[in-house]
């Protein structure tokens, strides 16, 4: 028996924060920003630097949050990049084909379209009981192919879209980019749901042990389906943002983003084997990934090496997770042997 030492709840919370996996990644992010800022103060302390720091990762944060939810249920969604491409082109197409269409309707249409594409993934995974990797690899190709058929060599340019919409992509509200605010709201909502609600905890239960979750009476099929719909909807929203932020959309928009999204989640401590991690972690991972990309040239490393650094980061993160898991297991065994 251990003697209870009175500890204030504040200290307890602080030490829990220090031990959290997300804290480490946040620390790494802070280090990168500090290092880049000491080399060139414009990285943080200039209106443009501040804006880019917040704006650049916003779109990936959305996709990474959706990916994290899918990963937590022990599935994976490789089709997010293709979903983004399709919804980004849909956005442009709607503005061209329906002159004067309200922006809100376009955003809703893109999100619903993304959710529908996610529903196809989810239905195939949940009802056909086929591994998500195979299904979403298939839809990665299929969605991108449909995109190419639809777009052809066509391209949507900034001049095809209303100014108000493009202003969304770069505009700010009290010094914070609008896209960042939207991403933060989505993130906070998802984080609260995953941490505090019965539904959110069921995702973790399913990911930890699908068979046990099924036996326990959880509606595994419905939850997995929902996870894919959410991931699709968020990729759809990311597609709209992509159109607003970059202005030009061709048939390859969003190509390769699936690996960035999985990478961001893994860096942020979401286990690819399911049941572990948080959407906060995935979001911070996304910010770290893109901030490092921008910081490297400032630190004097040619930006050709970006992907190599990202690779090292991913490997470093999973090795760290493994070490932490092994250490915790040993501690638990010791605690059991003592009692």
């Amino acid at each position: 028996m251990t003697t209870a030492i009175p500890v204030s709840s504040m200290t307890k919370r602080l030490s829990a924060l220090g031990r959290a996996r997300e804290f480490g990644i946040l620390l790494a992010l802070a280090l990168v920003i500090i290092a880049a800022t000491t080399n060139n103060s414009n990285f943080l302390f200039s209106p443009d630097g501040w804006r880019d720091l917040l704006l650049t990762p916003s779109i990936l944060v959305l996709v990474a949050v959706g990916q994290a939810i899918v990963l937590i249920t022990r599935n994976v969604d490789l089709s997010v990049g293709s979903v983004m491409g399709l919804t980004a082109y849909l956005t442009g197409r709607l503005f061209i084909d329906v002159p004067g269409i309200p922006i809100v309707i376009v955003v809703v249409a893109a999100v619903v379209f993304g959710a529908l594409l996610g529903l196809i993934n989810g239905a195939l995974v949940a009802f056909a009981k086929v591994p998500a990797m195979v299904i979403t690899l298939g839809t990665l190709y299929a969605y991108r192919g449909i995109n190419v058929l639809w777009t052809g060599s066509d391209r949507v340019n900034a001049s095809d879209m209303p100014k108000d919409f493009l202003a969304l992509g770069t505009g700010q509200l009290v010094g914070i980019p609008i896209l960042t605010i939207v991403a933060l709201i989505v993130l906070a909502g998802a984080a609260w749901y995953m941490k505090n609600t019965r539904g959110g905890r069921e995702y973790y239960a399913i990911g930890s042990d699908p068979a046990a979750a099924e036996l326990y009476g959880l509606r595994v099929t419905r939850r997995v389906l929902t996870a894919f719909v959410v991931s699709g909807a968020l990729a759809g929203l990311a597609g709209v943002f992509y159109a607003a932020r970059y202005g030009t959309i061709n048939s390859q928009a969003g190509a390769g983003w699936e690996l960035d999204a999985v990478g961001a989640a893994v860096i942020g401590g979401v286990a690819i084997t399911g049941g572990i991690g948080s959407v906060w972690g995935a979001a911070i991972g996304a910010v770290l990934l893109l901030t490092i990309n921008r910081a490297l040239p400032i630190l004097g490393i040619p930006d050709f090496w970006q992907r190599a650094v990202v690779g090292l980061l991913i490997i470093g993160a999973i090795v760290l997770d493994r070490v932490l898991a092994v250490r915790q297991k040993r501690r638990l065994i010791e605690a059991r042997d003592k009692s």
């Binding site: 058929l149 068979a211 690996l259 690779g311 999973i318």
Partner: protein, 350 residues
């Protein structure tokens, strides 16, 4: 995972109460072979130019990297692991060859160095998966970025295009009197090697055993870690070899060579009947699937359909094939139910 493993085991064991002809003919692999034959016959009779010998040459040259890498990938995936880093390894090996040749080193030595890089890269994957004990999906997403990053970092946006003519000609050459490219010789050698390894050696039986149940395999004396390590090394070396071929075939070493190739390889392997959960699959199914994708692609190209339609077809084939397999299994289960109250008990009963 455990649930999936049990169903895989059940399926394999249950197969033996069927008559021999059904076991041989009504398989996933045979369906792919039949589809391949059908596509070739229909294309040859309806698509102008498909019947010409030159079509075969380009078809084989185009899919040679996929065919090569699919061989070790089949074994890796039968153990239930995956290697997503192969496309990046092709790029890295291509860049290493190019950079060394540019630096004045003879091509033969440069190519050997590239193979060595493949060996080291594969061993790195294998080390992280078997010794450190990390999931291969996560590890190889990391090395996918790492290898590609090294490739792009080494050459930047530059491209090396000066290679000895003897070798670039050889890569595109045809076997005397035929329209089959020379690269098919190393491929056939590797094919025979991998078929023998997988289907006729204790090592190969171990590969299946690991995929069906890692623990059972270990208790039966299979060296689980050593087997997986060897497979990742093989995957790296073969990918590096494909990289050298890729460089010669297109006469250019660039950092972004073969981007996304890993997904095409995995699509072919899965379409060919290898289960992502491991424990199931045959090499001839995978080879047939790669040829099927290649034939469809070249037939469509001859019909002037944009090459990107191939993406839809690859994706749709992949989804339809797995969903159909799952649907048939479900159909079989519901049809059998009256005679046998519990399908789960079949393995112990038979």
């Amino acid at each position: 995972m455990t649930a999936a493993t049990t169903t895989a085991t059940t399926r394999v064991i249950r197969d033996f109460d069927k008559p021999l002809w059904r076991r041989v003919l009504l398989t996933r692999e045979m369906a792919i072979v039949a589809l391949l034959v059908l596509v070739v016959i229909v294309s040859a009779s309806t698509v102008r130019g498909f019947g010409q010998p030159i079509t075969l040459t380009y078809l084989l040259l185009d899919i040679a990297p996929i065919l090569l890498i699919a061989l070790p990938m089949t074994l890796v995936m039968i153990t239930g692991e995956i290697d997503l880093s192969v496309g990046s390894m092709v790029g890295l090996s291509s860049v290493v060859t190019g950079a060394l040749v540019q630096g004045g080193i003879p091509f033969e030595v440069a190519a050997l160095a590239a193979l060595l890089v493949g060996l080291v890269g594969g061993a790195f994957n294998g080390f992280l998966v078997t010794v450190v004990g990390l999931p291969s999906l996560a590890v190889t997403i990391g090395t996918l970025a790492l290898f590609r990053g090294l490739a792009v970092g080494l050459l930047g946006t530059a491209a090396v295009t000066e290679f000895p003519e003897f070798w670039t000609d050889l890569a595109k050459a045809k076997l005397a009197g035929t329209t089959i490219p020379v690269v098919m010789i190393p491929f056939l050698l590797l094919l025979v090697g991998f078929i023998l390894l997988l289907h006729y050696t204790p090592f190969g039986r171990g590969v299946y055993a690991i995929g069906l149940s890692k623990d059972a395999a270990r208790f039966s004396g299979v060296h689980v870690e050593r087997t997986k390590f060897i497979l990742f090394v093989l995957s790296g070396v073969v990918a590096a070899f494909a990289g050298v071929f890729y460089t010669l075939r297109y006469g250019s070493a660039r950092g972004d060579n073969a981007t996304g190739l890993e997904l095409q390889v995995i699509a072919a392997v899965v379409l060919g009947g290898v289960s992502v959960f491991g424990g199931r699959g045959k090499i001839y199914g995978v080879v047939a699937a790669a040829l099927l994708i290649g034939s469809l692609a070249s037939a469509l190209r001859l019909m002037n359909v944009t090459s990107d339609v191939i993406n839809i077809i690859t994706g749709a084939l992949l989804v339809v094939s797995v969903v159909a397999a799952s649907f048939l299994a479900w159909l079989q289960k519901t049809r059998r139910r009256p005679g046998r109250p519990s399908t789960g008990a079949t393995p112990t009963a038979s």
